[in-house]
Symmetry: C2
Subunit: 133 residues, 2 copies
DNA sequence: CGTTACGTTTACGTGCGCGTCAACTTTGCT
DNA sequence: AGCAAAGTTGACGCGCACGTAAACGTAACG
């Protein structure tokens, strides 16, 4: 193992983000790197969280939304009340994601239809050319 | 038909957006309402585009990205060169969407795993309670 | 011991996606 | 003619997600 702890530079290289971004996420309480003196050291947990953060961003979630959702993937095994509350949230989130998936499939199909139309049009233009020759 | 043209108010109500948003999208060349004197009238085409715009936003695209993608769904049947270029773009976009779909499925599965873990934990806590009783 | 590399905090700047007045015109009713 | 409702064009403001520059710490290397 390479110490299992990454300094900010290696963390940035690993995820293709800037130091500013990592510090910003820490300030927003999305990441909790430990400190060696002044310097940040990113743990395996931070890496898991960052992966989820970046994924969340790709799907259009705000950092604040992501912050709330991150707990779902950790289930801090605290009190039952808290845990079950988190679980309910996770169910809702899951439903939202599946809805998004359905919408995405719809979007894909619509685009495919348009492309069939475009392909036809192109074939037609090609044919006209051939006739003209 | 109700004239097939919507004023700004009806357009807003139909899509749950504000007038500011519609004017903003027009300024960014995402929509092209026709003018009756001063006033904007939104066509069927504008409605189709707005639907795609809002969908694009839900998937985290910027307005500029969306603007470029909108043409894919219209295939302005201009020159063959332009049309085939658009078609290639559409293919790329389609690939990107299917990649996104795959990632979304992965995310869904991961969340489900976490939820199984959480459910187990909850069941365990419930059992402890029963035993204590 | 100086300097080079890497990291830190603090703070102001920036682009996007609108919100929010303010000031005006146009339209329809009475 | 008068007045309210609906729409218009600026123009400035704002929250988010960082970028960027300044000033400083500190550890290593020749």
């Amino acid at each position: 193992m390479t110490t299992d702890l990454l300094n900010i530079r290696d963390m940035c290289d690993a995820f293709d983000v800037t130091p500013r971004t990592l510090r910003f996420y820490e300030a927003k309480e999305l990441l909790f790197p430990i400190r060696e003196g002044q310097k940040r050291l990113f743990t395996k947990r931070d890496r898991a969280r960052l992966k989820l953060i970046l994924r969340g961003k790709r799907f259009g979630f705000s950092l604040e939304e992501i912050r709330q959702l991150l707990d779902l993937y950790h289930m801090n095994d605290g009190q039952e009340a808290q845990l079950s509350k988190t679980y309910v949230l996770a169910e809702q989130h899951l439903a939202a994601m599946e809805a998004k998936k359905a919408e995405l499939e719809e979007a894909i199909n619509e685009l495919k239809e348009q492309m069939v139309w475009g392909a036809d049009k192109l074939a037609q233009l090609a044919k006209e050319k051939t006739v003209a020759a």
